[in-house]
């Protein structure tokens, strides 16, 4: 097989799997949240049904909106979210399947990932502003604040990783997801470094809900405050696009965390290939294990946090990120830096 075919297969399976799992993830999230709240909750397939229904409903474009922005924003959000997922997943799949490819070694650049994380949010903001209702405008302003507040810890984490990677694998591109996946951060470090990584990971516990707009950071859509804010004027198809984009993005962000912090596959843990009945089942096992990790991170950082906290005020959000979360990640960064084994290199 030539490289392009492999690449295309990976992209397409990521997209299809992503949409499926993203919607399933929404269902599972709601089910788990319901369980925490002592209820039954909607069926796991609920996400698909909601989406299908929205696709069939009338789509209203408000009169005083800027039509092209209003219509374009959901599409942009959807496309960039899909790209984000592909961009994170393909290098990781390359790593998992052990497919050697000099052509894609540079794929999965962190900086681009950060941009791709931002674009769906910016599309949301644009859509909110264009809707021309005061509530949507407030939602947009809030989304901007959340977006900017999470930038610093995110950037710190990425730089920490880059530095670490340049030490661990000097021969590989240091800003790449492939490198991060093949060289788990936990390796080659003393206690200080390990503690640093733990701090970085715990900062992500709060960056995930902020990036995906979940309580306690759902200010932009706060139902009781600004009546779904950003999305207040969206209906039908466009709302469905936003929902799908959000599902994909949640999956993408969680996958990113898994790739960055817990990239080890089963085979590395079990120490070798897995053979069952003479067939090499390493790849399916790896993928199952990856999904397991994703669901654990998903349910802790999205489902559990959102059921156990109240929504913060927007002023508290910026304070929380700029002081607490940034402090935690910067401490983590410094700890990694002063780790004797890193210093020694």
């Amino acid at each position: 097989m030539n490289e392009l075919t492999v690449f295309l297969i990976m992209v397409i399976s990521t997209l299809i799997g992503g949409i499926y799992l993203g919607l399933l993830g929404r269902g599972i999230d709601r089910k788990i949240a319901a369980k925490f709240q002592s209820r039954i909750g909607p069926p796991i397939r609920q996400g698909f049904w909601d989406l299908k229904k929205l696709m069939l409903k009338q789509t209203i474009v408000p009169e005083n909106s800027i039509t092209w922005v209003f219509k374009g924003a959901p599409l942009v959000a959807l496309v960039t979210s899909a790209m984000l997922l592909v961009y994170i997943m393909v290098p990781y799949l390359l790593y998992l399947t052990g497919y050697e490819s000099p052509m894609f070694a540079h794929m999965g650049d962190f900086i681009l990932v950060i941009y791709l994380l931002m674009i769906p949010a910016i599309a949301l903001v644009a859509g909110g502003f264009s809707a021309g209702s005061p509530l949507s405008t407030i939602g947009s302003q809030r989304e901007m604040v959340v977006l900017m507040a999470t930038e610093l810890p995110l950037a710190v984490t990425v730089i920490a990783f880059a530095v670490k990677m340049s030490v661990l694998a000097p021969s590989m591109p240091s800003f790449s997801i492939f490198t991060a996946a093949s060289n788990p951060v936990w390796n080659g470090m003393g206690p200080a470094g390990i503690l640093g990584v733990i701090l970085l990971a715990s900062a992500f516990l709060f960056i995930i809900p902020a990036e995906t707009g979940k309580i306690p950071f759902d200010q932009a859509e706060a139902e009781t405050e600004i009546a779904e804010g950003l999305l207040a004027e969206y209906s039908g198809k466009y709302l469905a696009f936003f929902q799908l984009a959000e599902a994909l993005k949640s999956l993408g962000v969680v996958a990113l965390v898994v790739v960055l912090f817990f990239p080890q596959g089963v085979s590395t843990i079990m120490g070798g290939q897995m053979i069952a009945g003479g067939i090499n089942i390493t790849v399916p096992c790896e993928i199952m294990f990856f999904l397991l990790k994703v669901s654990v991170v998903y349910s802790v950082s999205i489902s559990f946090i959102r059921v156990s906290m109240a929504r913060l005020k927007i002023s508290q959000v910026s304070k929380f990120f700029i002081y607490s979360v940034s402090a935690v990640s910067i401490t983590g960064f410094i700890l990694i830096m002063i780790d004797p084994r890193i210093m020694a290199m």
Binding site: F36, G41, P43
Partner: protein, 148 residues
């Protein structure tokens, strides 16, 4: 903070509090879509629940006391000829969509012709459909007779 988390955990691992009751009443085609999918019996209603009103046409003596106390004007009288005593009398129809289920008419009725039943499943597509008015069949019957 800790107490909240412990309560949430308690809820996560404890018995859920949902009573899956109304599944039985959903149409066939949606039952399979509903969580659990089982068919559950209706919940038991406490004695004296003030639900659907029922009216005994034959018991009623047409005294009109119920008309006097009803706060919602949920009932209407119509004249009939009392064949037993051979004098004009009246009977009542009750509109379910107007009733406030206050039980005042039940308390005031001298012969116990009205009752409030524990049944509360009354939703319908028609506001004053025949099944939403107590005593309407009798009234129809009577009106037909009248017409003859």
């Amino acid at each position: 903070m800790l107490s909240t988390v412990s309560r949430i955990m308690q809820q996560f691992f404890g018995r859920r509090s949902t009573n899956v009751f109304p599944v039985k009443y959903a149409p066939e085609s949606v039952i399979d879509a509903l969580a659990g999918g089982d068919i559950h019996p209706p919940i038991s209603m406490p004695e004296g629940y003030r639900g659907k009103l029922s009216y005994d046409f034959d018991k009623c003596i047409g005294c009109g006391m119920c008309l006097k106390v009803c706060p919602a004007k949920a009932l209407e009288d119509y004249p009939i000829m009392d064949t037993e005593k051979n004098r004009p009398s009246k009977r009542i129809v009750f509109y379910r969509g107007k009733c406030t289920y206050c039980e005042e008419c039940v308390k005031v009725c001298p012969v116990g012709a009205i009752k409030l039943n524990p049944d509360f499943m009354m939703a319908n597509y028609e506001k004053y459909g025949d099944d939403q008015i107590e005593g309407i069949e009798k009234r129809r019957e009577f009106e037909v007779k009248e017409g003859q």
